[in-house]
């Protein structure tokens, strides 16, 4: 009974859209052909005629299909050629010659691949899938249907995509995976409901009801049949309605509700006759024959059985035929026509053997399919494991390579850093040794210079002692002996000259013993000198002014300090000796970066243009020049003298 349900359903799914008024279309196309159109239009017309003759006359359909193929080849029209192979393939499919159908489909597939006609390819994949489905090679059927589905989904052609999903679900049902099939049909019903595709919705409801029937869930099955009938009625979907009534009638019959079953099957028959669905008519008629037999209406049953068997024989529908022969043999048994019973039982046996063989083949195919599926699954698992192992291996290798690269980078970095460190160390050592060498050289030179300085110091000490002895001897001579006046005068001059030489020597020793002379040192030395001068001459008033702003930390080299001291000494001596001054001012004043020293007196002065510079003035000038100081003399006759020294100081 279940097989009876599947057959019309599959046929109904495959060709549901192409069954309306073929003769009208044929006439119209023939009239177009009579006007001698272009070759491409002729090919199209032949192809259309092949299609429309499919349900009326298979021979005519083949004739027009071959004409379309011949003309396409002649005119090198690849699109037409592919279409012709496709149409011929459909014809062979209709005749259940699936091998021949697949040959034609493959030829069409080859051409469409070259033409890159993706939608055409999807259509061929779908048809090849159906061929595999009908020859029970369900794995290949799923592969081809999935290929077609991918293309339709990519092209967003939801109508065909959904139909294919339904088909794949039916394959699952063929594989007895009812849960999977039911799940897909439920999803499809939901999609159809959302997109308001009522044709798909009714087909889905029909399939859901059948799936529940396989799962022996009669309650849900009835619910979905009724739902499907309601939707089909509301949307005037006669094809789907006919199938639903017939299937529902079968369900009711199995539940023993014969009267309701007859009502529904009659409705199905009426609709199918209206739309000229021959196989459907055969199925519904045979079902009615069976139902009337059950209620003892033999005559009516005979009429339906005859009608059904005739159509089933015409369309070579063995499943329907065996059902019909069985019922007819029962009928003839009721009217006690033994020969006819024997005749139909033989026929029944014959067909049933053939069906049984087919079933065995199917079962073997199913078992093989299951075995193949298991084997494939194992292979897939094995491949997955191998893949995972390879992946892990690659990941480890990558990690190792990354590690090696990292090691190389770190080693290079370390090498560079060590090299850099050594380079810096070497450079530093070189610089250091150069500096130390220079330092040693200078120190050696300084040592030599110091030795010379020491020799000079010893010499000066010696000379100082000798000069002191001379002065002492001269004093003894002067006071110990009575000498003539002129000799005393001479002795005094020598004594004074020697004393001044000793003073000069002491000043020099003072300066040479110091590395540097501070302003403080200079100040105290000058103060001493001025004090002495003050004692020597009561008539002269000395003023020594030291600017407090001057930094006491200002220092001079011993040579500069001594020269400044000598200049001041000379200037003061000149003021007392030659200018006859009563006031002598010595000023130390700080200017921006200068130390300004002025020695001013109120003496008789001189005319700078007329007076020739003596040793004293020239010495002062020379000393100032030696220390890089500016030397100025401002003087006028009877207006005193002002000597200015400007020396740059570093504060």
């Amino acid at each position: 009974m279940k097989k009876l349900l599947i057959l019309p359903l599959c046929l109904f799914l495959n060709f549901y859209g192409f069954s309306q008024n073929p003769q009208i279309n044929i006439d119209k196309i023939k009239s177009d052909l009579s006007q001698n159109p272009s070759d491409s239009l002729k090919i199209k017309a032949y192809s259309d005629l092949c299609w429309f003759y499919r349900t009326i006359s298979t021979d005519s359909a083949f004739t027009y299909g071959n004409l379309a193929l011949k003309l396409s080849k002649k005119t090198n029209n690849k699109v037409g050629e592919a279409q012709a192979h496709n149409d011929i393939g459909i014809l062979y499919y209709g005749l259940a010659d699936y091998n021949q159908a697949m040959k034609e489909y493959n030829l069409a597939l080859k051409i469409r691949k070259k033409l890159e006609d993706t939608l055409g390819l999807a259509s061929i994949y779908n048809k090849i899938g159906l061929c595999y489905q009908n020859t029970f090679q369900l794995d290949s059927a799923i592969v081809y249907n999935t290929m077609a589905l991918e293309i339709y989904e990519y092209k967003n052609n939801l109508k065909y995509a959904n139909a294919l999903k339904g088909n794949i679900a039916n394959i699952y049902r063929g594989l007895k995976q009812y849960d999977k099939a039911l799940k897909t049909h439920l999803e499809l019903a939901e999609t159809a409901n959302r997109t308001q595709d009522y044709s798909l919705l009714t087909r889905s409801y029909n399939n859901i009801a059948n799936a529940y029937l396989h799962k022996e869930d009669t309650l849900n099955s009835v619910t979905y049949f009724i739902k499907g009938i309601d939707v089909a009625k509301a949307n005037n979907l006669e094809n789907e309605l006919g199938a639903l009534y017939n299937n529902y009638g079968t369900l009711l019959s199995s539940k023993g509700q014969i009267k309701e079953a007859i009502d529904n099957t009659l409705k199905s028959l009426i609709i199918r006759k209206k739309i000229n669905d021959n196989l459907g008519i055969a199925s519904s008629s045979l079902n009615l024959g069976d139902l009337y037999l059950k209620i003892g209406e033999y005559k009516i049953a005979k009429n339906y059985l005859d009608e059904g068997i005739k159509l089933a024989e015409n369309f070579n529908a063995n499943e329907l035929r065996v059902n019909g022969y069985s019922n007819l043999s029962y009928y003839f048994a009721f009217i006690k026509n033994i020969d006819s019973v024997k005749y139909y039982q033989n026929k029944y046996k014959q067909i049933e053997d053939s069906i049984f063989n087919n079933r065995i083949t199917k079962e073997i195919a199913e078992v093989q399919e299951k075995y193949n599926a298991n084997e494939r699954e194992n292979q897939i698992l094995k491949q997955r494991a191998e893949l995972a192992e390879k992946k892990q291996d690659i990941s480890q290798k990558n990690s190792f390579i990354i590690g090696l690269v990292g090691l190389a980078i770190v080693l290079s970095l370390l090498g560079f850093l060590v090299y850099n460190q050594q380079k810096i160390k070497n450079e530093q050592l070189k610089k250091e040794s150069e500096l130390k060498e220079a330092l040693v050289k200078i120190e050696t030179q300084n040592h030599l210079q110091n030795q010379r300085l020491n020799i000079s110091r010893d010499l000066h000490d010696n000379i100082g002692a000798q000069l002191t002895f001379i002065i002492s001897s001269l004093d003894n001579l002067k006071y110990g002996f009575k000498l003539p006046e002129n000799l005393n005068e001479k002795l005094k001059t020598i004594s004074e000259f020697t004393t001044s030489t000793i003073y000069e020597l002491r000043d020099t020793i003072w300066a040479m013993n110091k590395n540097e002379i501070t302003l403080d040192d200079l100040q105290s030395r000058i103060s001493n000198f001025i004090d002495k001068a003050n004692h020597a001459s009561d008539t002269v008033n000395f003023n020594f002014v030291f600017d407090d702003d001057l930094l006491k930390t200002t220092t001079f080299t011993s040579l500069v300090g001594m020269n400044i001291y000598r200049i001041i000494q000379e200037a003061v001596n000149n003021s007392i000796k030659y200018a006859k001054s009563s006031i002598v001012d010595v000023n130390f004043e700080k200017q921006v970066n200068n130390l300004q020293i002025t020695i001013e007196d109120n003496g008789k002065g001189f005319d700078i243009n007329k007076v020739e510079f003596g040793n004293g003035l020239n010495n002062m000038k020379k000393r100032a020049l030696e220390i890089g100081a500016e030397f100025k003399i401002n003087t006028k006759l009877d207006h005193g003298t002002k000597i200015t020294i400007n020396h740059v100081i570093n504060t």
């Binding site: 090691l407 370390l414 850093l417 060590v418 250091e432 000079s456 003539p484 001479k490 020597l505």
Partner: protein, 96 residues
């Protein structure tokens, strides 16, 4: 597999160690640079001060060279004068 994992662990430990040594070397180099700069600075400073000292000594010696010359001249002058006085005194003694 285990050997490979062991080698990887060794490899990554080696990388980490070398990396740490690199960091240490980098900072040591920086320290060496800093120390070298300081040392050079002090040496240069000392050299400068020695140069100044050298200049002063040279100036002093140059000055003393001239001064010593003038001092000897003065000594000769004093000696001359003293010989003259000696001569006068001796002449006066003989004349008496």
């Amino acid at each position: 597999m285990e050997t490979s994992v062991f080698f990887q662990v060794v490899l990554y430990i080696l990388i980490c160690t070398l990396f740490l040594i690199s960091i240490k070397t980098f900072f040591t180099t920086k320290l060496i640079l800093k120390t070298a700069k300081e040392k050079n600075f002090f040496l240069k400073k000392e050299l400068e001060s020695r140069k100044v000292e050298q200049k002063q000594l040279e100036e002093k010696n140059l000055f003393l060279e001239n001064y010593n010359l003038s001092l000897f001249n003065k000594l000769i002058e004093i000696t001359e004068e003293l010989f003259l006085i000696k001569k006068i005194i001796l002449e006066e003694c003989y004349n008496k």
